[in-house]
């Protein structure tokens, strides 16, 4: 991997650009588990006004699995590097970063490293730490995370590396539908487990106070992955952030309640850009 300065980031990360070419860029990042299709019902709503950018982290969806580097993707910093590389490759500025689940914190890390390119953060179901720690309630114990790794193993019995060429296939091919079904939420179990560890064993609480951008925290009701108290913690720690509570339940309002999710993000963007902005 050393010295690969010629990486074709848009291909590697399966980047999809839509919307207004001259619009302010909105970069949508998927969380742990699936891929950019998580934004299928949300991103199109912003295409009239914004330039929308979707991508898959290396190791997920239609990304180039051959670019997967165990060491790099053992921590959220490696994923933040993906975000920065996508933003640089497209030369985006004033980015509205929309991150779901663990990508909320990945966005916080990326914005801290490259502050000049970011304009606002939208954190959907964020959690800076999933495991309880003294007075802090993250919602999980370390044994719970071990349980997830076991669950991943028993649910990836059928995964074989022979599927990799299909998963890595060219997105321009007509059989995208079948390919999507084959790849959505499915990838090499070793990659999933490493991403699970990077996600659920992370602790980014200290990074929250450093956020200087207009930030929206979107909190679902009854979210088992990022409970309400965690959303409130994130809101309290990020200076000047806005907290919006959704009536949508669960951890994936982008799938279960796209309209409510779109409305909350749009309201925040209109407010933070000001009249006529």
């Amino acid at each position: 991997m050393l010295g690969r300065v010629d990486v074709d980031v848009p291909t590697r990360n399966n980047v999809t650009v839509s919307g207004r070419a001259d619009g302010q860029p909105m970069v949508f990042a998927h969380g742990y588990g699936c891929d950019q299709n998580m934004w299928r019902f949300v991103a199109p709503a912003f295409e009239d006004q914004y330039r929308t950018v979707l991508f898959d982290f290396v190791g997920a969806g239609g990304s180039d699995l051959s670019a997967y580097d165990q060491r790099r993707y053992s921590s959220l910093d490696g994923y933040a590097t993906d975000v920065i590389e996508v933003i640089r490759a497209l030369d985006l500025h004033d980015v509205i970063f929309v991150g779901h689940s663990v990508s909320a914190m990945i966005g916080v890390l990326a914005a801290a490293r490259e502050p000049d390119r970011f304009g606002a953060l939208v954190l959907v179901g964020p959690s800076p730490r999933y495991i309880d720690d003294d007075a802090y309630v993250g919602g999980f114990s370390e044994q719970d995370i071990e349980g997830l790794l076991v669950s991943l193993e028993s649910n990836y019995l059928g995964w074989s590396s022979a599927m990799a060429p299909v998963i890595m296939g060219n997105p321009d091919r007509p059989e995208l539908g079948a390919e999507l079904t084959a790849s959505f939420c499915r990838t090499d179990p070793e990659i999933q487990k490493r991403f699970a560890r990077a996600t659920f064993l992370s602790d980014n609480r200290a990074d929250l106070a450093q956020v200087k951008l207009p930030t929206l925290v979107l909190q679902c009701s009854d979210d088992l992955i990022a409970p309400a108290c965690v959303g409130e913690y994130v809101h309290a720690e990020i200076p000047g952030s806005t907290l919006a509570r959704l009536t949508a339940t669960g951890h994936c309002p982008n799938l279960s309640a796209p309209a409510e999710t779109v409305a909350a993000i749009a309201a925040f963007l209109n407010e933070s850009s000001g009249p006529g902005g």
Binding site: G31, Y32, N37, L149, S154, N155, F184, G250
Partner: protein, 400 residues
């Protein structure tokens, strides 16, 4: 068998059909049924599911979400993988979960589910079916553990093979002044098995350079022990006898007495410095002959084949000598080079000579690397057999 009238059979059929009405089937099916709102809130459960889990219908329906009945790890999997798949693809198949029963007991189950949408396409209800899968999942867990053990053992075997293989090659090649020597090796396939090729480069006196290159028949552990014996026997013999033939005779005798069921092919070279360059003596035991490229570009093989060592009681070892002058180059190689195949054709000596010609001006190590690369490129993909190459050059003294 009692003969059954047509009418009796009809009556029995309809009676069984009446007993097996859909409501009865739903409640007492040999699987658990759950219906839930899109957010997972349980709205219906069949009797089988309640019996298996020990839950009271009233305490479950409308009060709990499907994912809340799962062990925490499975709950995270449900939220991060299963629910997105359900919403995106409308169904889930064979998700392995542990359902936590009323008593706290974990019940391993396999779950299939469908997401039913209303006429406007909005998610309406999740229909899940759960199968008791304790034994199957326990078996699968054993398979997972076995696979992990197999992977670990494969990794250990690979490290062992690589370590052993490295021990059959010199760590550094230190050539006598006036000689330039390079060596290259490439294992067959993915390198997970020890091959039988080896070479060694050492001095027997301050003015004598010894080079051995050989190929033990077979692969793996049995070939490895013979390779080790061969290398150390050659080193030991070379220190107390002065002719290449005597060294290989010693090796042959060691093979016959220690490993009578195996054999090898080998080249042994001694190079002594003389005023015109180096005197080369080569003894051959059944090995492909060294190829010599003279300074003028002419190509010749050196020596005579001789017989395999360790095969018959006595071995025929041929020895010959030549003078290497500045600009001359000798290439020793194993059959992995010349027998590299592309369809029905072999890489062969002619191709080897061509590579040697093209890289003749470069250092010996670069020539050796170029030969290995050309043989690999010829056979597209992983090597069928291991490849070992040693190149000896007598450099042209720089004009001062």
């Amino acid at each position: 068998m009692t003969p059954v009238s047509h009418d009796d059979a009809r009556a029995a059929f309809y009676s069984a059909l009446a007993d097996d009405d859909p409501a009865e089937l739903y409640d007492n099916a040999p699987c658990g049924y759950l219906s839930a709102l899109p957010d997972g809130t349980i709205i219906k459960a069949n009797a089988t599911f309640l019996t298996w889990t020990g839950y009271d219908r009233d305490k479950l329906v409308g009060r709990h979400r499907l994912q809340e009945l799962l062990a925490t790890g499975d709950r995270i999997f449900y939220e991060t993988h299963a629910a997105p798949m359900l919403f995106m693809q409308g169904m889930l198949r064979e998700i392995a979960v542990e359902v936590i029963g009323a008593s706290g007991l974990r019940l391993p189950m396999l779950m299939n589910a469908l997401l039913k949408r209303d006429d406007d396409g909005q998610p309406q209800v999740i229909r899940a079916v759960l199968f008791d899968a304790g034994e199957r999942l326990a078996y699968e867990r054993e398979l997972v553990a076995a696979r992990r053990r197999a992977e670990e053992s494969e990794a250990r075997a690979r490290v062992l093979a690589e370590t052993l293989q490295r021990s059959f090659l010199p760590r550094d090649i230190v050539a006598l002044p006036g000689l330039d020597i390079g060596g290259a090796y490439r294992p067959a396939g993915d390198g997970s098995e020890v091959g039988g090729d080896f070479y060694d480069v050492f001095r027997t006196s301050p003015d004598t350079q010894a080079i051995v290159l050989g190929d033990v028949c077979g692969k793996g552990a049995s070939a490895a022990v013979v390779t080790a014996l061969a290398r150390y026997t050659v080193r030991a013999e070379a220190l107390h006898v002065s002719s290449p033939t005597a060294v290989l005779t010693g090796l042959h005798q060691a093979l016959i007495s220690c490993y009578p069921d195996t054999y090898l092919t080998v080249l042994f070279l001694l190079l002594d410095r003389v005023p015109e360059g180096h005197r080369l003596r080569v003894a051959t035991g059944g090995h492909p002959l060294p190829l010599c490229r003279r300074a003028d570009g002419s190509i010749q093989t050196l020596g005579y084949p001789g017989s395999f060592l360790g095969m018959a009681e006595t071995a025929e070892i041929s020895e010959s000598a030549t003078l290497l002058r500045p600009g001359d180059m000798v290439m020793l190689y194993t059959d992995g080079v010349t027998e590299a195949r592309q369809g029905g054709s072999f890489f062969g000596e002619a191709a080897l000579a061509e590579v040697a010609g093209a890289s003749a001006g470069r250092p010996a190590q670069a020539v050796a690397d170029a030969i290995v690369a050309a043989a690999l490129a010829f056979q597209h993909g992983p090597a069928r057999d291991d490849i070992a190459v040693v190149v000896v050059k007598v450099p042209i003294p720089r004009a001062s």
